[in-house]
């Protein structure tokens, strides 16, 4: 236990629940620059790579061989490898070097050379490079949709909400593997209920995954995992060739595929061979490119907390996203698994992909609360959606989402749950009750869902698969039960299997069914004025968060009781030494009716007068019209006051006790934080003003210090002050008033 109280306080912070370790290169616990990483080299003989990164062909492991055969363009390799690494690094951030040129040159580099080039960039340069090098111009996002009880109505409702919120791809998985066909079915229905029709996938074992896709229950897969050493690859029960074949198998049926890799997996599996995480990840990415995958999800993925425990881990994760992009692969850039306990650390990490934009900023944003996420948490989840939308608005950055209002969300959730209910009935699956539908609409998590008969569901799921029930059956069931629009949208996506359009790099399906990919939306970033920019319509959508109030309406609320101060003529200087002037701002008891905190002006004025009268002095109320500044209001009052003492008060409630002989911006007491003033504070201010007039000793009114007051009230303060200032008439002298309050 730390002896310092500050150390103790910090020890309790979220960030200190994260694990941190020093580097240990021999085990691969090092993000970049292991002393055992090879130096870059290439030798080419008769168009064949015979040496790579210091290793002769005879010593190639399976990854070396696959990379040498498939991933390096021998036509440019010698020239590219001979280029200084700093010069290559500069190409990545040089707005005069177009992306296609950079891609061509980098196709000639070996893994070690790529790591060396990336080593020359700092994080800001990498972000600029990612903005330039990602394949698709328009960024987008992928959602994770799961729940602990594997409730189909809730899955469909969450899927529909995800699409409504703008997610272009939805991924589900299973707690119990045998649920897969039903989960895929629920996701499919939900994915076509909202504004568009997202691509869907169900992360399960490879051959089951392929089967679900062939049945038309899913439209893409990203479970094709790749590892950076031969031993890890074999532990994953694959070789680069088996993965390459599997990729072709999916494509042969018109199904989109992206591979998966990420820093840390080899160390976690005990097979890092003393190499740095980034070097091994680069080998993965080159194998992925060699296999002909259009893309990859990387960014450490489920291992994220491992690189985050090491120096440079978060930088390393951005580096791997960037390497994928410069290898011309679609990148779904991670941000999916829990990376930290600390909100600061999570958000800071997110910015590295969010600000440059990625093909998919998340390879799974959890649209459910964490407890329902079967992928291991979700670095951002349902509770963070408002934060995310507000970050988009703050940065004017497109993170792929759109703010949505509750009624709209509830409507699509209900419709999705009803559609699942109908399809389950049509296809003789275990019934989805009305209570389940209702619960799915408003549930926070699957805890709020009625229990289902798990045994019956699993039996039905097995039967569903054995019977070869497929996407066409689902479309027919939906249409028969009056969900033609959903049926139509599912068919729109299924039709794309015939054209193969979404097999191209970075493809997604827009609402309406149009395919957008790196072919028809190539990233053409070349500095300001190029690349992706928020169109006016998209900016307006991002800006229109439901939390945003109409500023014109602020301060226009009526107060009870109302106060009407009638101006009855120019105020004269008083000669009564027992008089305190209460000088109110131009909008007080007029255009404005209450203080910042909502205290009615009528009550505030009463309290001030009461305080003055408790000290047996009299109060005279005047309205200042030529200024809205608190100090000047108070000073103008003091110059009219028989005692020379005045209280100045702005409509928002900021108050000053002033004396005639002081400079306008000096004061006896100032109460700048109106939110902390109660009616009793105003009464005491009245007393104190009277005591100053009588020459008695005065204990200043105690004021709470609230450092959050400015944060909480600055918007309201600004608007109330604007409205006060609107009432200023520089030519108008202070006015006598007659208070008419009910």
């Amino acid at each position: 236990m730390p002896s310092s109280k500050r150390y103790a306080a910090r020890a309790g912070r979220e960030v200190n629940r994260d694990s941190f370790i020093e580097e240990w290169p021999e085990t691969g616990l090092i993000v970049t620059g292991s002393p055992y990483d090879p130096a870059p080299s290439v030798a080419i003989h008769d168009g064949r790579i015979v040496e790579m990164d210091g290793r002769p062909e005879a010593e190639f492991d399976i990854l070396d061989r696959f990379i040498a055969l498939h991933a390096i363009d021998v036509a440019v390799a010698e020239a590219a490898m001979a280029t200084d690494s700093t010069a290559l690094a500069r190409m990545l951030v040089d707005v005069h070097a177009p992306r296609p040129t950079v891609v061509r040159v980098f196709a000639g580099l070996t893994p070690a050379k790529i790591v060396e080039v990336i080593g020359r960039l700092n994080v800001v340069e990498m972000m600029l490079a990612l903005q330039k090098m990602r394949a698709r111009r328009t960024p987008s996002n992928q959602a994770h949709v799961t729940n602990r009880r594997e409730n189909p109505a809730l899955l469909a409702a969450d899927a529909a909400e995800a699409v409504e919120r703008g997610f272009a791809e939805l991924e589900t998985t299973v707690g119990v593997a045998r649920y897969a066909p039903l989960n895929a079915l629920a996701l499919l229905i939900g994915s076509a209920t909202g504004r568009g029709a997202a691509l869907t996938q169900c992360a399960v074992e490879e051959s089951l995954g392929l089967r679900l896709a062939l049945l038309g229950l899913t439209s893409y897969a990203e479970t094709l995992s790749v590892y950076g050493t031969e031993k890890a690859f074999r532990d994953g029960d694959d070789t680069p060739w088996s993965k390459a074949f599997l990729a072709s198998a999916y494509a042969s049926r018109g199904i989109k595929v992206r591979f998966t890799s990420g820093t840390g997996s080899e160390a976690l599996m005990g097979h890092a061979e003393a190499k740095s995480m980034l070097y091994l990840e680069t080998r993965c990415l080159m194998a992925i490119r060699g296999a002909g995958s259009q893309g990859v999800q990387n960014g450490s993925i489920s291992c994220i907390a491992l690189p985050e425990s090491l120096p440079g881990g978060v930088r390393g994760v951005l580096a791997e996203n960037l390497i994928a992009a410069m290898l011309d692969l679609e990148v779904a850039s991670g941000n999916d698994a829990m990376a930290s306990h600390s909100g600061i650390r999570k958000a800071a990490k997110l910015m590295l992909q969010f600000l440059p934009g990625a093909d998919f900023v998340f390879s799974g944003y959890s649209v459910m609360p964490r407890q329902d996420n079967l992928f291991g948490g979700g670095n951002f989840d349902a509770d963070d959606l408002d934060d995310y939308n507000i970050l988009q608005r703050d940065m004017q950055a497109d993170g792929g989402l759109r703010p949505v209002r509750e009624p709209e969300v509830l409507e699509v959730r209900r419709r999705a749950a009803l559609a699942v209910q109908a399809v389950f009935e049509e296809m003789a699956l275990p019934p989805v009750s009305d209570a389940e539908v209702e619960a799915a609409v408003r549930a926070y998590s699957s805890e709020d869902m009625p229990e289902r008969n798990v045994v019956a569901d699993l039996e039905a799921a097995g039967e569903f698969l054995r019977g070869g029930r497929n996407g066409v059956d689902v479309i027919q069931a939906l249409a028969r039960r009056g969900f033609r629009d959903i049926a139509e949208k599912i068919l729109t996506v299924q039709k794309l299997r015939v054209s193969g359009d979404y097999l191209q790099t970075s493809a997604l399906v827009l609402p309406g069914g149009r395919v957008l990919s790196a072919i028809n939306d190539p990233n053409d970033y070349q500095g300001p004025g190029t690349g992706y920019r928020l169109a006016a319509e998209r900016a307006a959508e991002i800006d229109a968060i439901p939390q945003a109030l109409d500023p014109r309406a602020i301060g226009a609320e009526p107060a009870q009781p109302p106060l009407r101060l009638e101006e009855t003529g120019d105020a004269a200087a008083g000669d009564n030494p027992r008089e305190i002037v209460i000088a109110v701002g131009p909008a007080f008891g007029g255009a404005l009716q209450a203080t910042l905190l909502g205290l009615p002006h009528a009550r505030v004025l009463e309290a001030l007068i009461q305080g003055v009268e408790e000290e047996r002095l009299t109060a005279r109320v005047v309205k200042i019209r030529h200024t809205s500044d608190c100090g000047f209001i108070g000073h103008a009052g003091a110059r009219l006051s028989g005692s020379g003492i005045a209280i100045g008060i702005q409509s928002k409630g900021t108050t000053v006790i002033h004396r005639r002989d002081l400079e306008p911006l000096d004061n006896l007491e100032l109460f700048p934080q109106a939110p902390n003033l109660t009616l009793d504070s105003y009464r005491v201010i009245g007393c104190n003003a009277a005591k100053y007039a009588k020459g008695e000793p005065v204990l200043p009114v105690p004021v709470q210090i609230d450092n959050l007051a400015r944060l909480k009230y600055i918007v309201r303060t600004t608007i109330l002050h604007l409205k006060e200032t609107e009432q200023v008439d520089p030519a108008r002298r202070p006015q006598e008033v007659r208070a008419r309050h009910a």
């Binding site: 028969r480 039709k495 299997r497």
Partner: protein
């Protein structure tokens, strides 16, 4: 890339593997069971078109993958899964893989897939 997306730019030239016109795939046709899941598949021809598009975009490896896929378009699903499983580590000997490659080439004309399998064979025991 003037003809991309094919579904949008040249739908009239697209067919299903069963010979149906792409434009004939409508909800009504699905409801009348004139379109089945068998129809909702890409053809070798469309995959070749996509391979050309990928190639023209400077993606030779993706193009190669799409051409391997074109070879597999007519291969039954069970056979594909079998081949995949055989390619996994330790499942087959070098000779077994070479025989598989030869069979795939002879039976389906899948020269590119066969070449990939032969390469894999070199790394097998």
């Amino acid at each position: 890339m003037p003809d991309y997306p094919l579904a949008e730019k040249t739908p009239g030239q697209l067919k299903t593997p069963t010979g149906l016109d792409f434009t004939a795939i409508t909800l009504e046709a699905v409801l009348d069971s004139r379109v089945t899941m068998e129809d909702l598949r890409v053809t070798s021809e469309a995959l070749e078109l996509q391979a050309r598009i990928a190639e023209a975009a400077g993606r030779p490896q993706l193009a190669e993958n799409l051409r391997r896929a074109a070879e597999l378009a007519g291969v039954p699903e069970e056979r594909i899964l079998e081949i995949y499983n055989v390619l996994r580590p330790g499942r087959a000997t070098r000779a077994g893989l070479l025989a598989l490659a030869a069979d795939l080439e002879a039976r389906y004309g899948a020269a590119r897939c066969a070449a990939l399998i032969r390469e894999a064979a070199e790394s097998a025991a």
